[in-house]
């Protein structure tokens, strides 16, 4: 057993680390709560003076732009692309894990290829293809674009995860009268839940952060995602830091809530095997 004082020493160390790491986010919040006159000073107060705190910047953000709509758009794209990627990747990952086919090597290469292509270049062929399919300016187009990033990596993760589950499980299920698909559905998938969750969070984070596709494939402000909308505050005529920071904080919140709630799955899911050889 770890001695008691050790545990508190670790706690202190962890608190310090977290404080340093979270300072940029803290500073965004502080800036968003103060008026420009204090923000633009040579000695900005590290703790916001309570009597100066105001939520005006937030009111202004919501008043000026359809931030809620952007967050909803982002949520739709994140949910859509994560679910599609996850379904496709689970099937593929299972196949790659259980059946040795030449496809395996191709799959590995594809994963790496997709990680290497610069998004700012691949967006050009995407734009051509999506225009032909009338998918530009739609969230569906963005979902597909994110699937292109998500599927290869998620397949790899899920294969790694399935590799850790013994094959005897399916053999036992088959003896009980299941066919292969039933074995996958009733036996393997329930056991794969941590891996699915980990993979899902990973996909969600990547899709939520994505910028180049969202910027290029959608032009109508009504269909903008959060990242693009936020950037539009920067490209504006004037830049008011409190406003910009407020917009930033607002666009971070949904993902933070999701992340803090689901983060344990991420570690436990990865522990069970994914992202391993």
């Amino acid at each position: 057993m770890t001695p008691r004082w050790h545990r508190y020493a670790f706690l202190a160390l962890a608190l310090l680390l977290v404080a340093i790491v979270l300072f940029p986010i803290y500073w965004m919040v502080v800036t968003s709560l103060l008026p420009s006159s204090i923000v633009l000073s040579r000695q900005p107060p590290l703790l916001p003076p309570p009597d100066q705190i105001s939520f005006d910047a937030y009111a202004e953000v919501f008043h000026r732009r359809p931030v809620v709509a952007w967050i909803l758009n982002s949520a739709i794209v994140v949910a859509g692309s994560s679910v599609i990627s996850l379904v496709v990747a689970t099937l593929a990952g299972y196949s790659l894990s259980r059946f040795h086919t030449p496809a395996q090597r191709v799959a590995g290469a594809t994963l790496l290829l997709s990680k290497m292509l610069p998004g700012s270049l691949i967006v050009v062929p995407f734009f051509v293809m999506f225009t032909a399919l009338h998918l530009t300016d739609t969230l569906a187009g963005l979902i597909l674009a994110n699937v292109s990033v998500g599927v290869p990596f998620a397949t790899w993760m899920m294969k790694g995860f399935f590799d850790t589950l013994p094959r005897e499980l399916e053999q036992a299920a088959k003896i009980d009268g299941c066919n292969e698909l039933q074995a996958l559905w009733f036996v393997i998938l329930p056991l794969a839940r941590p891996g699915l969750a980990a993979c899902g969070i990973y996909l969600a984070i990547v899709a939520w952060s994505e910028f180049v596709f969202a910027r290029t494939l959608v032009t109508k402000p009504a269909n903008w995602l959060v990242t693009v909308g936020l950037q539009s505050f920067v490209g504006e005529y004037l830049v008011e830091w409190p406003l910009l920071m407020a917009a930033g904080v607002v666009s971070l919140l949904p993902m933070f809530v999701l992340f803090v709630l689901l983060e344990p799955f991420l570690v436990s899911g990865l522990t069970s095997g994914a992202v391993k050889q």
Binding site: R42, V124, T131, L135, G141, T216, Q231, S232
Partner: protein
């Protein structure tokens, strides 16, 4: 198209929320992306122009889209490259030639014949010529303006400058970096408008960095002017782009701002205590630097019906009534004699904006090869500018390197 392809499309389409607006049957929808849909002042003009247009032509609807300026040209490039250009094309005029050079814009000479635009537009309209054809209608030609904070000048006991040297001295007198106060708001970060700032000093001094169709960066007059620009940057906060530069001026942190007249709309939004101090006047240069700002075009690829509808929109924008409304927003309208003495009496700043626009010399390159490759040119000049801001390298050395790089990257025969 393969059946599964269609299936995917159908499935995807089912997922879409708030998909493309249907539009009544037979209605023409014109796509009109601009960076000005939310700009204080001029956006109101666009919106009322569109409303009037849709009223006059009920079978046409205009889909106005806001795209931030720093993304705008890239976004247009992608759309043209993919073969889906907008129907009403609004471009920063400095980028016009790059687009025209691709054959993306519709020649307008035939259509212009039936209008008074050739007669009533200023000489800057000639900028819209490419390959011997007029390919656009100038929407704004301007002269650069000097915005200043009267209170800050008073506190430092300096007068409104009339020469570049006086201006530099005034910047120095108003700078107190340890208090977070600066003499000048200007672009000190990688930003497309840095070229405009530098060119203002060069053209303003009467020099020319593109003389007789050649790069002329080693000319002592050019070096001197660029060196003055470099001094001025020393009085400005570092790492500012055009938006933060304006914001700092509006917040009273800087004493001077060189910018286009349209910024007046933003300055008028300053806080009540700051607003009375913020003034506008002409730049303290012997030559007034300015140029074509932005222009309207029709995409060569649009179908005939949309081209006609877009042209009607341009004609309406160029009509005396709408030009007058445009000039009242603070941006100089290209049509001659648009503003009346009564307008000047009501809003005196319009007079100085108008006068400066009238005497402005083009600060943008006029050499065709540089116009077609404007972004390459701007990239190199900005690079040299950033080098002068961020290193100790001497100005003549940086400019000599710039001359060499440009001759290699963008040769002028």
């Amino acid at each position: 198209m393969k059946p599964w392809f269609r299936l995917i499309t159908a499935l995807a389409a089912a997922l879409v929320l708030g998909s493309a607006p249907g539009g009544a049957a037979g209605q023409t929808v014109l796509d009109f992306p601009t960076w000005q849909a939310e700009e204080p002042g001029v956006s109101t003009w666009w919106k009322s122009l569109i409303a009037a247009y849709e009223k006059q032509y009920p079978d046409v609807r205009i889909n106005l889209q806001q795209i931030p300026f720093n993304q705008f040209v890239k976004q247009m490039t992608v759309r043209f490259a993919a073969g889906t250009p907008p129907d009403i094309v609004h471009l920063p005029s400095r980028d016009f030639a790059s687009f025209a050079d691709q054959g993306w814009l519709e020649p307008l000479d035939e259509r212009l014949k039936s209008t008074d635009i050739p007669a009533m537009w200023p000489p800057l309209q000639a900028d819209m010529m490419w390959n011997g054809k007029t390919q656009g209608v100038l929407l704004m030609g301007y002269g650069g303006m000097l915005f200043y904070n009267e209170q800050r000048l008073k506190d430092a006991h300096v007068a409104v400058p009339k020469t570049p040297d006086e201006w530099l001295a005034a910047m120095k007198a108003t700078t107190a970096a340890d208090k977070g106060l600066f003499g000048l708001s200007t672009i000190t970060a990688e930003h497309p408008n840095m070229v405009v700032e530098m060119a203002s000093w060069v053209i303003g001094s009467g020099a020319d960095w593109l003389k007789g169709g050649r790069y002329n960066f080693t000319d002592p007059a050019v070096v001197r002017a660029v060196d003055q620009w470099r001094q001025s940057v020393g009085y400005a906060p570092k790492g500012t782009n055009s938006a933060t530069a304006r914001q700092l001026f509006v917040d009273g942190k800087t004493a001077f701002l060189r910018d286009g007249p349209w910024v007046w709309g933003a300055v008028e939004k300053a806080s009540a205590e700051m607003k009375p101090s913020l003034k506008i006047t002409g730049l303290p240069f012997p030559v007034e630097p300015g140029g074509a700002s932005n222009s309207l075009h029709i995409a060569a690829k649009s179908d005939a019906r949309k081209k006609d509808a877009a042209w009607k929109f341009i004609v309406m924008a160029a009509s005396p009534e709408w030009q007058h409304a445009y000039a009242l927003t603070g941006s100089p309208a290209p049509r001659k004699n648009t503003l009346t003495p009564a307008d000047f009496a009501a809003k005196p700043y319009l007079k100085v904006i108008n006068d400066e626009a009238a005497r402005a010399q083009n600060l943008f390159p006029t050499v065709p090869a540089v116009r077609a490759g404007y972004n390459d040119f701007a990239t190199q000049v900005t690079k040299a500018g950033m080098r002068m801001i961020s290193t100790q390298d001497s100005t003549p050395k940086v400019l000599a390197d710039l001359q060499r790089d440009l001759e290699r990257e963008l040769p002028l025969k």
